[in-house]
């Protein structure tokens, strides 16, 4: 059987020689992860059991394999036992595969002859009440990875060159901040903005909240710096038509922006044949910002049809005028009602999330209104006043104490026009009283939603957006500015509602990621990608259409399929599609997989006591 497999592999002409003399001295290292694993899995017994597996010459367990002494233990065993393959039974490979591969490499072992058996997430954590079963499962998982290591070839990582040019999508504060930071560090930046000018939402806002510092001058400086920067190329009224490629080497096509009306549709169809221009870039930052939920979505608040009911950005514009006048008749409003959570925190009718910035800008707007119209009344309806952030709480208190802004705790149920006023039906849940307020002007803090076209852009870039249309980050805590697609980063409200400070921080963080990427001459990529056994390939092209990463193409001259290793993610779709078994993913050959399955099913090839390998 063994001989037959070897023959088959030789026939496949794949790694036969490399494996000769390997896969015979495997070490197994079982981690306790404190009580995370050892509390459920009998690690001692598991170590004993796997010692009997074919090819295993060493097995041990230890408290924390990822710790320095744990890694030292592995290094020592590699040297002392002359190991040529390793299975670490621990947590998910996404945690520490890289750690242990470094360890193996440091001890002179090819890192691709190391495998992780995930006996924490896939075993101890899900079988906490079943100690016996969990231990058996752990042993089976380890046995299957031992079988895999037996077939693993030593591989070398692939290198791909990096184009040190950045594309930034969005010319607001986020996009400009990223562009400047990266350009200042010496790299070229293309900044593409759909609108006719730079500045984004900030150009619609007069003052910051809390500090009430004017934004116009610093914004102008920033815009000027971007426009004058020798390494930044600004493309206005332009947008991304398509993108292809991969981290370090993207090709993007930019084209004149479609009018905003075309974007209102669900998928602004991209088939308008306007000539696009291609650019090669190494990284992309998405900084497409936000917009406000249209008032037409808020039926109980008049659906946008009631005069003198405006959203917060419109109110910013009213504040910017010399004299604050309401839209209907130009009168100075004597009583303004601010309605927060207009569509936010409303999974039934609006959006489920909190829009984050409204509590503070409402406090600001109410305070500014009171300064502008000293005898005017400002009333705010809020559920929870969310002023987390330095000096924000103090600011909101100032609006109450000094600005005499009246806060009522409760959501507004309905508003409508009566005569020349707007009647607001609200409640103060603290007093337990319903209130009816006749206002001259009502300002709705409409929910913050992703920019129109964000989801479509996500599809073009192959960077995923969530069900709400915000771009998804790689990890909410530790990788907040990386998208799930390598080389595409996120800045600002495109990822979720954010205030200016957070947006600027995020933009800086995205810049850091880009600079890190651009600091390397080439990128190292996992070599566990697909290959084509040319003598078996009939050039049918099935794999080309099966590949989700556009990593496949047909060589017209040789009439065989080819793999772009930089795009291939090793998913195996081509392997399944290929009728001739000509597609193979390195170190994931079918016979390896079958041996792994066999091991899990209990066909564990224990060596017989007398026939030591």
């Amino acid at each position: 059987m063994e001989a037959a497999r070897d023959r088959e592999e030789q026939h496949a002409g794949h790694g036969g020689e490399a494996r000769a003399g390997t896969g015979r001295r495997i070490g197994v290292f079982i981690c306790h992860c404190g009580s995370n694993i050892a509390g459920t899995v009998d690690v001692r017994r598991a170590a004993e059991a796997v010692r009997g597996l074919r090819g295993v010459v060493y097995a041990t367990d230890y408290g924390y394999m990822c710790s320095d002494p744990g890694q030292a233990l592995i290094r020592r065993a590699i040297a002392e036992q002359g190991l040529d393959g390793i299975v670490v039974a621990a947590c998910s490979p996404s945690m520490h595969e890289a750690t242990f591969r470094r360890t193996a490499e440091a001890a002179g072992l090819n890192p691709y002859r190391l495998e992780i058996a995930n006996i924490r997430e896939q075993c101890s954590w899900v079988h906490q009440e079943e100690r016996e079963e969990a231990t058996r499962k752990a042993i089976a998982l380890i046995a299957s990875l031992v079988e895999k290591v037996r077939g693993d070839d030593p591989l070398e990582p692939l290198g791909t060159p990096v184009t040190r040019r950045l594309l930034v999508v969005g010319g607001g504060i986020a996009g400009m901040t990223v562009a400047l930071e990266v350009a200042d560090a010496g790299h070229e930046v293309i900044l593409v903005e759909r609108g006719a000018q730079l500045g984004g939402r900030l150009s619609q806002i007069r003052e910051t909240y809390a500090a009430l510092s004017p934004l116009a001058a610093p914004l102008e400086t920033l815009v000027e710096r971007v426009r004058e920067h020798p390494r930044i190329r600004v493309l206005l009224e332009s947008e991304v038509e398509s993108a292809s490629g991969y981290v370090g080497s993207f090709t993007v096509t930019l084209r004149p922006a479609l009018p905003a009306a075309a974007l209102a549709g669900d998928r602004g169809e991209s088939n308008q044949a306007i000539g696009g221009t291609q650019y090669e870039v190494g990284a992309i930052v998405v900084a497409t910002g936000y917009e406000l939920l249209p008032l037409s979505r808020l039926g109980e608040y008049g659906g946008g049809r009631v005069a003198d009911v405006v959203d917060a950005l419109e109110f910013e514009r009213l504040l910017a005028d010399g004299v604050l006048r309401r839209p209907s008749d130009g009168r100075v409003p004597r009583r303004v009602v601010f309605v927060q959570c207009a569509g936010s925190r409303d999974p039934e009718h609006g959006v489920p999330y909190c829009s984050k910035v409204c509590c503070l800008y409402t406090a600001k707007q109410a305070l500014l209104y009171r300064q502008r119209v000293p005898d005017g009344e400002a009333i705010v309806f809020a559920i929870d006043v969310r002023t987390g952030g330095r000096r924000y709480e103090e600011f909101a208190q100032r609006a109450v104490e000094e600005g005499h802004v009246l806060y009522l705790r409760g959501k507004v149920a309905k508003l409508f026009r009566q005569g020349d006023r707007v009647i607001v039906w609200g409640v103060d849940t603290l007093a337990g009283r319903n209130v009816e307020v006749a206002a001259d002007l009502v300002v709705l803090a409409a929910a913050v939603v992703p920019s129109a076209g964000a989801a479509e852009l996500g599809r073009r870039l192959r960077a995923t957006t969530d069900e709400l249309g915000f771009f998804r980050e790689a990890h909410p805590k530790l990788r907040p500015v990386e998208s799930l697609t390598a080389g595409i980063f996120l800045a600002g409200a495109a990822q979720g509602p954010k205030d200016i400070a957070e947006t600027v921080s995020q933009a800086g963080a995205a810049a850091a990621k880009v600079l890190g990427l651009f600091s390397r001459p080439e990128l190292v990529q996992e070599p566990t990608v697909a290959t084509v056994l040319e003598e078996l390939c009939a050039g049918c092209g099935l794999c080309v259409s099966a590949c989700p990463y556009e990593a496949r193409s047909l060589n017209p001259r040789l009439r065989v399929a080819e793999v772009n290793a930089a795009l291939c993610q090793g998913c195996g779709a081509c392997v399944v599609a290929c009728p001739n078994k000509a597609c193979v993913v390195r170190n994931w050959r079918p016979e390896q997989t079958l041996a792994m399955v066999g091991a899990v099913l209990g066909e564990t090839p224990y060596r017989s006591p007398d026939a030591g390998e």
């Binding site: 925190r345 999974p347 959501k411 409640v427 849940t429 009283r433």
Partner: protein, 135 residues
């Protein structure tokens, strides 16, 4: 005076009954008050609708049962239609009414309705009243 909260624990028997009968999770309510703000008869209620829900949240169902609010709810569903958390308040109110009548019988005994009004009311008001106010 302080209320010794939760003598029966977070999930009192009565609270559980109200939730089961109404099919509503009262803790889904985050007390924004939108229900009260739009309620057409809040003006005559002793407790606002959100306050009744609050009492049920706190396990103080007995107090909710003594409130006149549960009898004033006309099940017009304005509150339910606008509730951001999808809490169907009229169902909670009805569950409370049932609980109250289970204990003290008909809230509005049919034989005590004035004859002249009976002649005037539309039939659906009378039948609706029987449905809501008798056990």
């Amino acid at each position: 005076m302080k209320v010794a909260l939760l003598p029966e624990g977070l999930r009192s028997r009565l609270q559980q009954r109200v939730e089961e009968a109404s099919g509503q999770n009262v803790l889904a309510c985050y007390q924004c008050g939108k229900c009260s703000a739009g309620c057409p008869v809040a003006g005559v209620m002793d407790l606002l609708p959100n306050q009744v829900i609050r009492l049920v949240q706190l396990g103080l169902v007995e107090e909710a049962l003594t409130s006149q609010t549960i009898w004033y709810c006309a099940a017009c569903l304005t509150c339910a239609a606008r509730c951001p958390k999808g809490v169907d308040l009229p169902r909670v109110m009805e569950a409370l009414r049932e609980l109250a009548m289970e204990r003290s019988g008909d809230h509005l005994p049919p034989d005590r309705l004035p004859a002249e009004a009976l002649a005037e009311w539309p039939q659906q008001a009378v039948i609706g009243g029987f449905r809501k106010y008798t056990w």
